[in-house]
């Protein structure tokens, strides 16, 4: 447009204006009419159609077909024509180009003509654009199915949607080796609550399974949910789950159920996904359910990850199989041997197998290459596999998690050992969550919280480790590191520090209360009380010794005068956990202590007779019965079986603990075989109870 054309336009416009109308009221009236019509239409839509509100957002429900608002549909449809790498054209290039063209339209179209028929290019382009957008929108409506009904019944998905999805979205990527159950139960990063208070353990397990294997939850809903609740199956034994899936209709509890043959309905991959959901690939939990009964809280293992994996997958050698020739007749052994080689050929062998072998072998009939070999093994016995072949039972994801966890636990860096160590070593003074309290060794002193964020921020790991290892002799904290005479290895201390660090991001559930000074001063404590609070930690509750020497031993009592003992308490022993207590205890208190220590030999020389039901059985129940139960061999489940069962009857000789196999095995003085339990020696006090019980006649009362 040149200057002349501009001037002509402005003149013409002035004329048109003169011939026109005032804006008010003529034009305003028209505008008002149209606005009113629009408003009435809007009210009608609001009244008759209303603003839709679908179900609450459920990030876990990936079956939902997302559909944008209608005015974005054409863009949505356009993307379908640019698949894969071309997507960027449909998404970015075309829309940007369109907007730029539109924006710079006045600069691109310099034609002075204004009537649409005189501007065919623009008119055609605009018409085509409108038609194109309309076409794309119609196509999108026709091709997109209406939003699918929300699938109901997936309880775990609902649980996830309600609790996890608002922050985590549709899925969570979990680094391998994560202890997911613990993360959910205790919370982890900032802002994540500890769900342990709101959700049951089984629900947390289900969530862990859902997060690690989302497809498994759908399969559960599809195949199992009609009869089972999620928590019920999640809590069951992986061995049984695997069996139920593998055996399908022949699985005894499913015998009368109208179900499909799982191996036909589900692919191997789907079955493992379902198993991963039901027994989440969470190392700690798998360890707890599958390994802890025999191995305790961790397994000492120094090999590589691959070796451990192979060991777990193949199962291991543990119990000794007895030589059956001493118990069975020649024909019975023959029958069993035949049965083992080919169960179908010798149906009568099943009774014998059930009677003698099933307790250890379970349903799994061991295979032998030939009759001769089978006969020989049964007759003479030998070490053989009793650790299940986990490779057949667990999915590869579960195995991975289990291996990871076992290695971690073996290295002592497992988070689980931290709280445990803290509980036994630190909690007596610092309280369960490090909230502090009255200082037992420094009357009138208050131990400040060590779980506060101030404390943790101002103490780095090295400092904390040093404090734990060397103690704080001036404040009454004895050294805990082995290098300083304490009970804890460096790895233990690291685990404790790691546990304390977890408070930083995840403050302990119980708020550290403001510690109250003790109502009365420490001066009123008796010698026994002082001993229990200060000395028992190392010297044992009855002076039987621990990390410190035994005080009830006659040698100790004879070699030291009262003054010697008082001096040692007061000055301590350099380079040991025995710090100079003279700084904390008054001379009167030390005197009280000395006289209490003098009473120790008499009090422990005639220990109370341990009761079988109250003292002994609870220990056996927890530590022994898992393996020494109905599996064969010695049975620790009842008094009678303890006294009479097993291959080395009797294991308990009343009045003679030294020659009782039970005591020998616990103390590690046995002539053959390993110390029991395999997960590690019982505590001294537990062993003492059992030894005392045997020595006092091993009575059933």
């Amino acid at each position: 447009m040149n200057e002349q054309e501009k001037r002509t336009y402005l003149e013409k416009y002035q004329e048109a204006k003169k011939k026109g109308f005032p804006f008010f009221p003529d034009i305003v009236f028209k505008d008002a009419v149209v606005s009113l019509v629009v408003f009435i239409v809007l009210i009608a839509l609001a009244y008759f159609v209303g603003a839709p509100l679908e179900a609450r957002a459920n990030p876990a429900d990936t079956t939902y077909t997302p559909r944008p608002e209608w005015y974005f549909l054409f863009l949505f449809q356009l993307l379908k024509y640019f698949p894969g790498k071309l997507e960027v054209i449909g998404v970015i290039v075309l829309p940007t180009l369109a907007i730029l063209l539109l924006f710079f339209l006045p600069l691109l179209d310099q034609n002075p003509r204004r009537h649409f028929l005189k501007r065919p290019v623009i008119t055609t382009a605009a018409t085509l654009a409108v038609a194109g957008i309309a076409f794309l929108t119609v196509q999108a409506v026709r091709e997109t199915p209406p939003p699918a009904e929300v699938t109901s019944g997936d309880q775990t998905a609902a649980l996830y949607a309600a609790n996890c999805a608002p922050c985590h979205g549709a899925s969570i990527t979990v680094p391998p080796g994560t202890n997911l159950h613990q993360v959910i139960a205790q919370g982890k990063h900032e802002g994540m609550p500890a769900w342990g208070a709101d959700l049951s353990t089984d629900q947390i397990d289900a969530l862990a399974g859902f997060i690690l294997s989302p497809g498994g939850s759908q399969l559960f809903t599809q195949y199992c949910a009609e009869c089972h609740q999620v928590p019920e199956l999640v809590a069951s034994n992986p061995l049984e789950l695997k069996r139920a899936l593998d055996e399908g209709l022949t699985y005894p509890p499913h015998a009368n159920a109208k179900i499909s043959d799982w191996s036909a309905v589900m692919s191997a991959e789907e079955r493992s996904r379902l198993l991963n959901f039901l027994a989440a690939a969470d190392g700690e939990r798998l360890f707890a359910t599958n390994c802890s009964p025999c191995h305790g809280s961790s397994v000492a293992f120094s090999g590589s990850e691959a070796e451990l994996r192979a060991l777990i997958s193949k199962g291991g050698l543990h119990l000794e199989m007895p030589p059956w020739q001493t118990k069975l007749s020649q024909t019975e052994i023959e029958t069993l041997a035949n049965y083992v080689v080919d169960p179908k050929a010798e149906p009568s062998g099943k009774n014998l197998f059930d009677q003698y072998c099933k307790t250890c072998h379970g349903e799994r009939v061991p295979t032998a290459n030939n009759l001769e070999q089978a006969r020989q093994i049964i007759a003479s016995g030998r070490p053989h596999q009793t650790m299940p072949i986990w490779g057949d039972i667990l999915t590869s994801e579960q195995l991975d998690a289990l291996v990871q966890y076992t290695l971690q636990a073996a290295q002592g860096t497992s988070l689980a050992t931290g709280p445990q160590l803290f509980g036994t070593n630190c909690a007596p003074c610092h309280d369960e969550f490090g909230e502090g309290g009255p200082n037992p060794s420094l009357p009138g002193d208050i131990i400040p919280p060590i779980s506060s964020s101030e404390f943790l921020k101002t103490h780095d790991d090295t400092t904390l480790q040093a404090i734990i290892a060397q103690g704080q002799p001036d404040l009454g904290m004895t050294p805990f590191g082995t290098a300083y005479g304490g009970p804890l290895e460096d790895t233990d201390i690291e685990a404790i520090v790691a546990y304390m660090r977890s408070w930083e991001v995840n403050p302990p559930a119980a708020l550290p209360p403001q510690a109250q000074p003790p109502a009365s001063g420490g001066t009123t404590l008796s010698g026994a009380e002082i001993y229990a609070q200060v000395c028992a930690q190392c010297h044992g509750l009855h002076g039987e010794g621990g990390s410190g020497p035994a005080l009830n031993a006659p040698q100790f009592q004879a070699a030291n005068t009262d003054q010697d003992i008082a001096n040692t308490i007061s000055a301590g022993r350099p380079s040991t956990a025995m710090i100079a207590w003279g700084g904390f205890l008054t001379s009167t208190q030390i005197e009280q202590l000395v006289s209490f220590i003098r009473t120790l030999p008499s009090s422990s020389a005639s220990p109370a007779v341990p009761s079988f039901a109250v003292d002994v059985m609870p220990i056996l129940q927890v530590k022994c019965v898992l393996c020494h139960g109905s599996l064969g061999g010695w049975n620790a489940a009842s008094y009678t079986s303890i006294m009479t069962s097993g291959n080395h009857v009797p294991v308990v000789i009343p009045g003679d603990a030294a020659n009782s196999l039970l005591a020998q095995k616990l103390l590690g003085t046995q002539a053959s075989g390993e110390i029991m339990p395999p997960s590690g020696k019982l505590s001294d006090s537990e062993i003492q109870i059992i030894v005392n019980w045997i020595n006092t006649g091993a009575l059933e009362k």
Binding site: K6, K12, Y13, A16, K17, K19, G20, F21, P22, D26, I27, V28, K30, V33, V34, S35, V38, F39, V41, L42, I43, L45, A46, Y47, G50, A51, P52, L53, E54, R56, A57, P59, D61, Y64, T65, P66, R67, P68, E69, Y71, F72, I99, L102, F103, L105, P106, L107, D109, R114, H115, F116, L117, I122, A126, V130, P147, P166, C167, G169, A170
Partner: protein, 219 residues
């Protein structure tokens, strides 16, 4: 009395000059298509009023958004109407804005001397689209969540900057409380402020330059 007050006020703020300039200006003879702009303005006001009323009850957190919207719809007196007007107002807005633009294109009204009016109009169009996109997530229902998931994923497709864009939009890897807060903030603060600024420019230019005449065959 009223006239006296009007005079008193005029002496001080010269409102008559403004009134004359805006309402008594002469306008070329135009047809009904020329009402689309003011109809759009009307719906924009409708959106502002109903939107402000909605914020009195709406809570922009994943925990409460859905419940608060449900509460507005079912419990608040005339809540259904306010939300209905706001919801359908969006569609009306888009339709009217596009029709208004088509009128300008077909009548060649973007030409000299109204180029700047056109530029501001295109940015206003983008602002309206932005309103639609950010407002869609706020009810936190299935449709909101998944459509926004798809919509923001689209932003993540361009190479190099895609991931960055996606993270800016979502405030993280996934749709979360941060996304909702972000969309809400944009919807009620950033975009309205932009809209008012541009609308001011747009209307000023329309009044200052005058509305275009209907082109005749020979124009």
């Amino acid at each position: 009395m009223v006239a006296k007050f009007a005079n008193w006020l005029d002496e001080r703020v010269s409102w008559r000059q403004v009134w004359d300039a805006i309402f008594l200006r002469k306008v070329p003879k135009v047809n009904w298509f020329y009402t689309l702009g003011s109809a759009t303005l009307f719906v924009a006001v409708n959106q502002a009023v109903t939107g402000i009323l909605l914020t009195l009850y709406y809570v922009p957190t994943p925990d409460h958004a859905y419940d608060s919207v449900q509460y507005i719809t079912t419990q608040v007196p005339a809540g259904w109407l306010i939300r209905g007007l706001h919801h359908w107002g969006v569609s009306a807005m888009v339709v009217l804005v596009v029709l208004h633009m088509l009128r300008v294109i077909f009548y060649g009204a973007y030409k000299y001397p109204r180029e700047v009016t056109w530029f501001s109009g295109i940015i206003l169009l983008l602002v309206v689209i932005g309103f639609g996109f950010t407002g869609y997530l706020l009810p936190w229902d299935q449709k909101a969540y998944w459509a926004t998931t798809v919509g923001t994923r689209i932003a993540g497709t361009p190479p190099l900057i895609g991931d960055y864009l996606l993270r800016i939009l979502r405030g993280g890897e996934d749709l979360s409380a941060v996304t909702l807060a972000r969309f809400f903030g944009t919807h009620v603060w950033v975009l309205p402020a932009t809209l008012m600024l541009l609308l001011g420019i747009h209307l000023y230019l329309v009044i200052r330059i005058g509305i275009s005449a209907v082109p005749k065959k020979e124009d």
